[in-house]
């Protein structure tokens, strides 16, 4: 293998395009004859449409079509698995706030927007249930991410009853919305029965299949293009209603149609992180050795579809304990269907588990890192397999050293900076290594230039750069000679950019294709020449595959106002081979910053009487701004993993957020003596 363990910190090849405005995102295309669609969404959260009066709308200049449930074509919007059920104007039922109820198409965006504002909808409202505590409609899902929802090893109840130290607490996390800065956008165009879509999607291959199903046309009739994505974080993973609605509108008017969600509509039908209530029970001896862990998760889903926030998956494997029980229960509420959001499960679950570990550390009076080392899992007890590699000890050590953990006086309220209370907290980070089938073609032209083609996409993750590096290093040529083509279903198929699996999946395919090409060149074949690889994960895994890390946080809390400011963050991560040290560091830092938002700012609030979201914009839904960002350091802990996949990478897009909310909550406890178990840690929770 030519690839270095830590890849060169090459500048992004797409950097110049991004800083000059030349990078083209979905809404930047303008096919000839383009017209504009505006989606109209429901103003109630539960009930039905009595009447939509579109007379005024239709009278406006430039209006080409008004689609409602009364005139929309019959579609195939049913959901299955992670293809979530769509709301395509098929009936009068309102199932959640901001559900699409109409689409107005006009020559200009302004005409469509104004005309849409004139639609008059009469509803019949029914009382909603928005809080999972209030929902009687609960059930255990059949499975989560191909794993059973409930898992038990040993006899946790008996172990807990007999444990000298017993700790129990309940933690909760709110609904959060992804809010990439690029709103979801679709440009749809039909030529007869063939559909071409420019879409802000995390998966062109997936979007193509889904659109074919929804429209009942062959997959080969659909082309999806997505050269640049303005962030996704999970909300651009599945195909959502607006994508199909844009295509329905284009069909209705016989012209290419652009539909871009408004920022408030980004709180509507594109998924969100569901609310969770998590009970944790830890049984330990007086030295802090765990005999039992129980983690019971209640999370929300919609009344018509299913998404499970897999918060307790992390608990099955993170610490050594003979007796473990994890359960997941769903409660149906009047809200849209939730979805993946950066580190689904691990972000929320690690908040509960890693807060609980900190509480246990105080209960047994042991340093939090030492407590974790005493319970270090040498193998994955839940799968009863060895880890493909695990460098978590190194992460604790390096993180603690860089952060200056030894300066911490563990007593709450013991450290100050002027009048500010100072707190230091830490937590473990972890994220599973996933992989899916991916194909790539590597072609060498006569002039020696190389083109890598794969239907993957760049969410900001560095795809354009890191796969060029893999090809260049494998072929032993300068990276300047390599060009990437991606984000198009005309290219070889690749999986969804999700689950931190793109580098492992597409990277392996590019590596295999480039290796095959090199072999043929070595045997004397001459350019132009190309090689294709269809790389697949093994069927039977002998190893448990996870990346690990350690998060360290220093906060200052205003004792009078309860305001928490994160002042410094250090993360140390071991995730196998790193393809590019510069872009990897950026991904880690981005994830860590998300942790600040999760811990301190982000919450989507519902009006419980109407099920309407009252924070549907970036002034009321707070995400971290630059002034919220502390000094941040992310360290790459070198790790060689010969087992995990052909190129030995573990994926880094999501691990950065895991553990952060707990580390901050732990630091806030250290600063104030107040344990906040309900996110976000708003100042009122610290005023006593």
């Amino acid at each position: 293998m030519n690839l270095p363990l830590v890849g060169a910190p090459h500048d992004r090849l797409d950097g110049p395009a991004k800083v000059t405005g030349r990078a083209t995102y979905a809404a930047d295309f303008s096919p000839a004859g383009l017209v504009h669609a505006v989606m109209v969404t429901s103003e109630i959260g539960n009930g039905r449409i009595v009447r939509i009066d579109d007379a005024e709308t239709r009278r406006q200049d430039g209006v080409l079509a008004v689609l409602t449930h009364e005139n929309a074509r019959r579609m195939h919007p049913e959901g299955h698995g992670f293809a979530f059920a769509l709301m395509l104007l098929q009936d009068d039922r309102i199932r959640y706030d901001r559900q699409p109820i109409a689409v107005v198409v006009a020559e200009s965006f302004e005409q469509a927007t104004y005309a849409a504002s004139l639609l008059r909808t009469t509803y019949e409202s029914e009382p909603p249930i928005t809080r999972i505590e209030d929902s009687a409609d609960r059930y255990t899902p059949e499975e989560i991410f191909d794993e059973p929802a409930d898992v038990t090893r040993g006899n946790p109840d008996r172990a807990f009853a007999g444990a000298p130290v017993q700790f129990k607490a309940t933690y909760s996390t709110p609904v959060e919305h992804h809010n990439p800065i690029e709103p979801s956008a679709t440009i749809a165009e039909w030529e007869g029965e063939r559909l071409t879509v420019h879409d802000s999607t995390q998966g062109v291959t997936n979007a193509r299949k889904r659109l074919a199903t929804v429209f009942g046309i062959p997959v080969s009739n659909v082309r999806v293009i997505s050269p640049f994505l303005g962030g996704g974080f999970g909300c651009k993973g599945a195909v959502w209603s607006h994508v199909a609605l844009a295509a329905m509108a284009a069909r209705a008017v016989g012209r290419p149609v652009k539909l871009v969600l408004t920022r408030p509509q980004m709180f509507g039908s594109i998924g969100y992180r569901p609310r969770t209530i998590q009970s944790i029970a830890l049984g330990a001896d007086r030295d802090g050795r765990l005999s039992c862990i129980m983690h019971d998760v209640l999370s929300q889903t919609s009344t018509f579809d299913e998404f499970v926030e897999p918060s307790a998956l992390v608990t099955k494997m993170l610490y050594a304990a003979k007796n473990v029980r994890t359960t997941h229960t769903l409660a149906r509420v009047n809200a849209a269907t939730p979805t993946f959001m950066r580190a689904p499960g691990e972000a929320t679950g690690s908040f509960a588990l890693e807060s609980a570990m900190d509480e246990l550390a105080y209960a047994v009076d042991i340093d939090p890192i030492e407590l974790r080392l005493r319970n270090y899992a040498e193998r994955d007890q839940s799968e009863n397999k060895p880890f493909s590699s695990k460098s978590l000890r190194e992460c604790y050590r390096i993180g603690a050293e860089k952060f200056g953990w030894s300066e911490r006086d563990p007593k709450p309220r013991s450290m100050r900076n002027g009048r500010m209370l100072v707190g230091m907290g830490m937590a473990t980070a972890t994220y599973p290594t996933n992989r899916a089938a991916a194909s790539a073609v590597v072609r060498m032209n006569e002039d020696g230039s190389v083109v890598v083609r794969s239907g993957t996409q760049d969410l900001g993750t560095g795809s354009y750069t890191v796969y060029a590096q893999v090809a260049a290093e494998t072929l032993d040529i300068p990276i300047e000679r390599v060009r990437l083509e991606l984000g198009d279903t005309d290219l070889p198929p690749a999986p969804l950019s999700a689950g931190s699996m793109t580098a492992a999946s597409v990277g392996s395919a590019v590596y295999e294709a480039a290796s095959a090409l090199r072999e043929r060149l070595r045997k004397g074949e001459k350019a132009p020449i190309e090689a294709r690889a269809d790389a697949k994960p093994q069927e039977h895994e002998r190893y448990s595959k996870h990346a690990f890390g350690a998060q360290f946080v220093r906060v200052e809390v205003d004792p009078d106002l309860g305001e928490v400011r994160v002042r410094r963050m250090v993360g140390a991560f071991a995730a196998g081979r790193i393809l590019n040290a510069k872009t990897a560091r950026s991904q880690y830092l981005g994830g860590m910053l998300w942790g600040i938002g999760m811990a301190l700012h982000e919450v989507t609030r519902f009006d419980e009487r109407t099920a309407r979201i009252v924070t549907a914009n970036l002034a009321d839904y707070l995400v971290p701004v630059h002034a919220d960002a502390p000094d941040m350091e992310a360290y790459i802990v070198e790790e060689e993993d010969p087992h995990v996949n052909p190129i030995g990478v573990k994926g880094i897009g999501e691990i950065g957020i895991t553990g952060v909310a707990a580390a901050i909550a732990n630091a806030v406890y250290h600063a104030t003596g107040i344990r906040v178990r309900d996110l976000p840690i708003a100042c009122e929770k610290l005023l006593r």
């Binding site: 405005g21 950026s586 630059h626």
Partner: protein
């Protein structure tokens, strides 16, 4: 109805520099001339068209991004007479006679502006969607002499949200870009 919907279908008042013939603009389309990146563009827009939509949809200068259309994200930042503004919060017809600079007008040919080069080198972005706005804000604030230290940079750049969370690198880029601009 979502609050992003402009309610400006009625007549606006005449900006001082507008063509002398008209005393009231709209509600139909009006002819205006905009100076963008040193070039004059004739276009006909309704008064309710924002500067952002005029740039993106009429002039096809799509480097300026729409992130919220509500003045909360900064993705639509452009320079008007060297000052950074949110182009989603202003109407195209109000900028007749102004000097508008978009991200497309910052580099000279293939030669990146020092701030652009600093953003590339320090990896001051990931998805790149907020980047045109970040770069233009940074350029304006440096020229205004407001980037007096890290805290000032963090504070002054807070109108440009980066959801990818590139702030640490944006800070390094702005610091370095400011030095190169000096």
């Amino acid at each position: 109805m979502d609050s992003a919907i402009p309610e400006l279908a009625t007549a606006g008042t005449l900006p001082s520099a507008a063509p002398a013939a008209a005393s009231i603009l709209g509600p139909g389309e009006v002819q205006i001339e905009l100076e963008v990146n040193g070039e004059r563009h004739e276009l006909s827009v309704e008064p309710r068209v924002t500067l952002l939509d005029a740039l993106r949809e009429r002039l096809k200068l799509t480097g300026t991004k729409k992130g919220c259309d509500q003045g909360t994200c900064g993705a639509c930042t452009v320079l008007v007479n060297d000052r950074a503004i949110d182009s989603c919060l202003t109407l195209a017809v109000m900028h007749v006679g102004d000097r508008i600079t978009t991200i497309e007008g910052l580099a000279s040919g293939e030669q990146l502006h020092p701030m652009q080069a600093a953003f590339v080198e320090h990896d001051g972005f990931q998805c790149g969607y907020c980047t045109p706005g970040q770069v233009l804000s940074a350029v304006a604030l440096v020229r205004e002499g407001r980037m007096t230290g890290d805290d000032a940079i963090r504070e002054q750049m807070s109108g440009n949200i980066c959801r990818c969370g590139a702030y640490e690198n944006i800070l390094a880029a702005v610091r370095d870009g400011a030095r190169r601009m000096a």
